[in-house]
Subunit: 338 residues, 4 copies
C-alpha cells in the first residue's frame, strides 16, 4: 500500500494524501520504496494547471524521487532488491536523441508521478544512484541536475576555461554551477540577493551580479568578460530575460533555453540569434545514458546537491508554497520516510 | 580605374556610379576585375538604411562578385593572374568558428563592397570558383549559397532520408533545395505562387504547399510527414513565420534562423524551443573553408545556381527594385561586363 | 515449427537442417516468419570456427533476415501481425553509443541467429522494412548496409563533394557506394576485375582502379585526387590493405576499419595515423536508431540493394561456398520461401 | 643578432652555437626576443636524423619558445612591443581542421626553429601567453601541452566522470593529467618508477600502475575500472604499447595516437579497433584557435606546467642527453636569458 499525494482538481488547495494499492509486478517491473522526493517548478505548474490545463485528473505529481528496490520482476536484469535507485523523468528515453513520443512518458505529467511512498515502475524507468549521496540528495537529480548536465555537457561540450552565465540560484542554476566548476569553467552568477550571491561564491561562482542593482546586467557581463561575452548561458528565465541573455553571449555562443519563469506572454525579437550566429538550444531534461554519465561525474567529483530545505511528506503543501515564494537557494526536498 | 556603384545618403534614389582609382597592390593583395555581381536582400537593407542607419557613407554595397585576377602582390601564394575567383562575404573568416570580430570584415557593410568593376582585396578575401560555372553563376555563391550550405551541411549535418522545409523561392531557399537534394534529403517547399511551386518541383522539391491557400501551413507539413514534423527548417522569414516553423519541426529538430524579412518588430514566444528541444541556430553566411567544401559539392554534383534575371550594371537600380518587389525566383545578378 | 540451419561442430561440412519448435511468445516478443536471409563474411567465419573457436555449439548462424510478423506478445507496441520486418544484428543496441555489453546480443554469434524459417525475438530486436523493398532485398540490410551507413553517415558525417575510397565490390562496399552517391560524394572503387569495375561504374562509381594491374593503388588514388588523397576510406581489407589506405587518405581524413579479410596475422605500422592526424574508426554494424535513419534514406532515394545471387535455403552450403570463393558482386541471399 | 643552436649534420655531436643576423621585419612580421625554449622528443629525432633523414641542413631545431616582442611590422594588428608571446608549432594552422599542407610550416623541422635568442616570425605564428606563467613555463606549451589538449578536449570532448589512461610521465602525459583533472575526469597513470607514480598522485592521478611490476597493465586497468575499461587513452608509446592500450580501452572508447617511442618497426594487429568500435585518432599538435582555448583553461584553472629541469642555453647538449635518458618527469627547458 502506497501513500500518494494527489490532486483531483487544479490548485494547491486540492492536493491531498491518499492510500493506493500497487499493481502486480510485471516481468520487467520494479517495486520501489521511495524515501525522498524533490520539487521542480514544473510540479507547481502541473498542480496549478498552468502546465497543461487539459491534463486528465486525478494525477500524482512529481518526477524526482529516490529510494530502495523492494522486489523485481522475473525478467529484470538491471536491479535486485536492496538497490538504491532514482526515478527517470522520461520513463522511455534511454539513449540517443529525444523523439516526438518521449514527452508522453514524463513522470508527474501525462502519467502519474513519484510523490508517493511506493511505486511499481519499469526497470528502464529507474537508475542506480551514486554511492556517496543520501536519498534526499539523490532525489534532486532526475530533473534539475540532468537538465543542467544535458545543457552544458551533452549539448554544449563545455570545456575548461570557458565562461558560463547562470541566472538566479534555483535548482538548475546551482547544478549548472557545480558542473561548470567541475569542468574547469568560469561562472558568472546573477541574483537579486547579495546574500545568495555570497553563497554562490562559496560554491565556486567566480563573478556575481546583483540584477536588481544592475538591471542592465548584460552590460556588466560584457565588462566582466573583456567585452567578449560569455560562451554559455543557462537561460532559466524565458521571455523576460532572454533578450538580455542574447546580448550577454558572445558571437557563436550557446544559450540553453530551459525555463519560462518570467515574461509570460511576451515575445522575443529573434534578430540577435542570427546576427550573432547564436546556438539557441531547447533543453528538456535528458536520457538515461546522460544520467549515467552525470552520475559518474557526481561520484568522481564528490558533488553534493545543494538542498535548500527538507519538508516532511505531510507538509508537501508548505513545500510547494516555499517553491512558489522563490526565496529558495537550490532544491526543495520532501522526506518520504515515515 | 574602377567603375563603382555608391550611395552618399540612404535610399535607392541616391545610388550613383562613380569612377575610382585603385590603391597600390600590397604584398598580400590581389587586383581583381569583376565580371558579375549578385544582389542579396541585405544589400537592399544596406542601401535603404535599414541594415545600419549609422553606417559611414559613402559606401559601395555588394558582397557577391566573381571575376578574374589581373595582378597579385609579391607575397600572394593562392592566386595568379588569370585565375577565376569570387569574393568572400567575410574577408577575415578563414576557418573554424565565427568570432566577435568577424562581422567587421563583411563586404558591402562596414567596409566597401564589390558592386564595382575592379577592386584590390587581400588574397584571404577571395576564392577560386568551380570550373563549370559562368561568372554570373559564380557571383551568386558568396552570400546566399554559403548561408544555405552552412545551415544544412555544416551546422545541420543533413543526411539522406531527412526532410527539409524551405520557405519561399528566394536565393537562399533555392540553394538549400539544391544542396538538400544533392544529399538525398526530401524537400517540402512553400510559396504563395503555384507557378513558383511548379518550378520548385522541377528543381527537385518533393512536396509543395501554397501558404496563401493554406495559411496554417505548419499543419500541412505535419500531414505530409506522417505527423512527425520535419528534421530541418531553413527559416528565412523571421518573426512572421518562425512560430509556424517551430510547430512544423519535429522534436529535437533544427531550425536555422537566417532572415528577418517578415514580422518586423514582432516578438516570438520561445516556449516551443524548449518544449520540443529544438536546435535554433543563427546562421550568418560562413567561412572560406566552408566555401571550399561547398564548391567541391557544386562541382561534383554539377549544380548550377538558379538565376532569376541578369541586369546590366547600368540598370542596377532596376535590379534593386526587382529584388524589392519579391517576385523573383532565385538570384538577381548584375553583369559588370562593359 | 521452424526449419533451421545449424552446425554441431565447426566447418561447412557440419551445416545441417533441423526442425525446432518455437518458445512461447512472451509479453514483449514477436513471432516472425522469415522469407529471406543474407550471408555475411562473418557467418562464414562463425561456421568455420575462425570467428570464435570457443563458441558454444550447436548454433544457428545468420544475422540478417526479413519476413512477416505472425503474432505478437501482449505488451508489444511496435508491431502487429502482417508487418514486414527485418532482424537487428544487435538485439540490444537501440540507440546512442555502443557499449561493452552490446556484442553479447549479436544474432548468429553468441546467440542463435536467423537462418531459420521462424523465430521468436524481442520486439526491440526487429525493425520495419522500407515499403519498396522485397524480402530478399530487405534481408541484406541488417549487417552490411548498416555497417556502411554507420561508417560514412553516422561517424563520418559524409557530405556532398567529398571523395570516398571503396575497396572491392562486396556487400559493404556496394552499400557504401550507394550511400555515398546518395549524399553527392565522389567514389573511387577498386577491384581486381575490370568487369566488376564496369558494373561499379554503372552503379555510380566515378573513378575505378584495378588493384591487380595497379598494385600501388594508393598512388593512383593520389593522382585521381589532385594529390590530395580521399576524405573517407571504407577499409574492409584489414592488415593487408590498411597500410595503403593510410597512404591514400588525406591529412585529417577518415578510415573506417570494418573487415579483416586480408593480411591475417600481419601487423600494421601505426605511424601514419599520427603523422597525418587520421581518424581511424572501428565500425561494428550499428544501432536500431541508425537503421531507422538508413531506411528513410533508402526509401527517399529508392535505393535497391545489389544482390549477387539468391540461393534456395536447401542450397545454403553452396551459398557459403560462393561467398568463400570471393567472386560475388554485392550480397548473397537465401530464399526461405517453401 | 641572434644566437642560434644549429646542426650541419645529424647527431648531437654536431649541435653548435652560431650568430645569425635577422631578416628585415616585413609588414606582417614580428621580431621576438625569446627567453626560454622547451625540448620535445621530436627535437631529438630531428637532430639525430630519425625524424627526416633527408632534411635540408643546416637547421635550427626547436618548436617551443616564449619571449617578448621587440618590434612589429606596419600591418601587424595582434601584437605590440613588450607583449609576452609563445611560438606556434605550425606557423600556418590558425583554425579549423588540419590540412595536407599544414606540416610544411612546422618549426624546427621543414623550417628553422626557435632554439634561438631572437627570431622574426609572421604574426600568425605567435600567440599571447597567459599572465600567470613565467617564460620557462610558457615555453613548454606549443607542442606537448597543445597535443594533450587537442587529444582530450578538442577531439575527445572529455567530460567529468570519465576515466583517462596516461602512459608514463613525460611532458604530454603530465599536461594530459592536468587537463583531465581540470575537467573533473579520473586519471590512471602508468610508469616504471614508484617514485614517479607518487609524484603523479600529488599532481592528481587517482590510480597508478607500475608497468614494470605489472607488465600486463591492461588487466590492471580493467580491475581498476570495474571491468569496464577506460574512456580515453593518451597513447604516447606507439607499437610497443598500443596493443595493450587497445585492450585497456572500453568498447566505443578513444585512443589518441601521439607518440612512437616504443616498438619501432613492429606492427600492430588492427582487429581490436573494429571489434571494439574504437576511435583511434592520430593527434599532431594543434591550431592557434585551440591554443587560445587552452590558454583560457590554463589561466582559469591556474595550471602550471610541470618542469623537470631548466638548462642554460649553453648546456643544450646536456638537455638533449637528459631527454634521451628518459629519466625526466615533465618538461625539459632551456633558459635563453644571457
Amino acid at each position: 500500500m502506497s501513500t500518494v499525494l494527489r490532486f483531483h482538481s487544479f490548485g494547491l488547495d486540492h492536493l491531498a494524501f491518499d492510500k493506493q494499492s500497487l499493481p502486480a509486478v510485471g516481468p520487467l517491473d520494479v517495486h520501489v520504496r521511495f524515501y525522498a522526493a524533490a520539487l521542480n517548478y514544473r510540479d507547481l505548474m502541473v498542480v496549478t494547471g498552468q502546465y497543461n490545463p487539459k491534463m486528465e485528473l486525478p494525477r500524482i505529481p512529481g518526477s524526482d524521487a529516490a529510494g530502495e528496490v523492494l522486489a523485481v520482476g522475473d525478467a529484470v536484469t538491471l536491479f535486485k532488491p536492496g538497490d538504491r535507485v532514482a526515478s527517470l523523468f522520461f520513463q522511455s528515453w534511454h539513449d540517443g536523441e529525444i523523439r516526438n513520443t518521449t514527452g508522453k512518458s514524463a513522470l508527474g505529467g501525462p502519467i502519474d508521478g513519484v510523490f508517493a511512498t511506493e511505486r511499481v515502475l519499469p526497470e528502464g524507468g529507474l537508475l542506480h544512484i551514486p554511492d556517496g549521496l543520501t536519498f534526499e540528495e539523490a532525489a534532486t537529480l532526475p530533473c534539475a541536475a540532468l537538465t543542467a548536465w544535458n545543457a552544458l555537457v551533452e549539448k554544449g561540450k563545455l570545456c575548461a576555461g570557458q565562461t558560463v552565465l547562470l541566472l538566479g540560484t534555483g535548482g538548475v542554476s546551482m547544478f549548472a554551477l557545480q558542473f561548470a566548476k567541475a569542468h574547469g569553467a568560469r561562472v558568472i552568477l546573477t541574483s537579486s540577493s547579495d546574500e545568495k550571491l555570497a553563497r554562490g561564491k562559496e560554491l565556486g561562482a567566480d563573478l556575481t551580479i546583483n540584477y536588481r542593482s544592475k538591471p542592465e546586467w548584460d552590460k556588466e557581463v560584457f565588462e566582466l568578460t573583456a567585452k567578449e561575452g560569455v560562451d554559455h548561458v543557462v537561460e532559466v528565465g524565458g521571455a523576460g530575460t532572454l533578450p538580455l541573455s542574447l546580448r550577454a553571449v558572445k558571437t557563436g555562443g550557446h544559450v540553453y533555453l530551459i525555463g519560462v519563469l518570467t515574461g509570460k506572454g511576451a515575445g522575443v525579437d529573434p534578430t540577435p540569434v542570427l546576427a550573432k550566429s547564436i546556438y539557441l538550444d531547447g533543453v528538456y531534461v535528458g536520457s538515461r545514458a546522460m544520467f549515467e554519465r552525470m552520475n559518474a561525474a557526481i561520484a568522481a567529483n564528490k558533488i553534493h546537491p545543494v538542498i535548500d530545505r527538507v519538508f516532511p511528506f505531510a507538509e508537501a503543501r508548505a513545500a510547494f508554497e516555499h517553491l512558489q515564494s522563490g526565496s529558495h537557494f537550490g532544491k526543495i526536498v520532501l522526506s518520504l520516510q515515515q
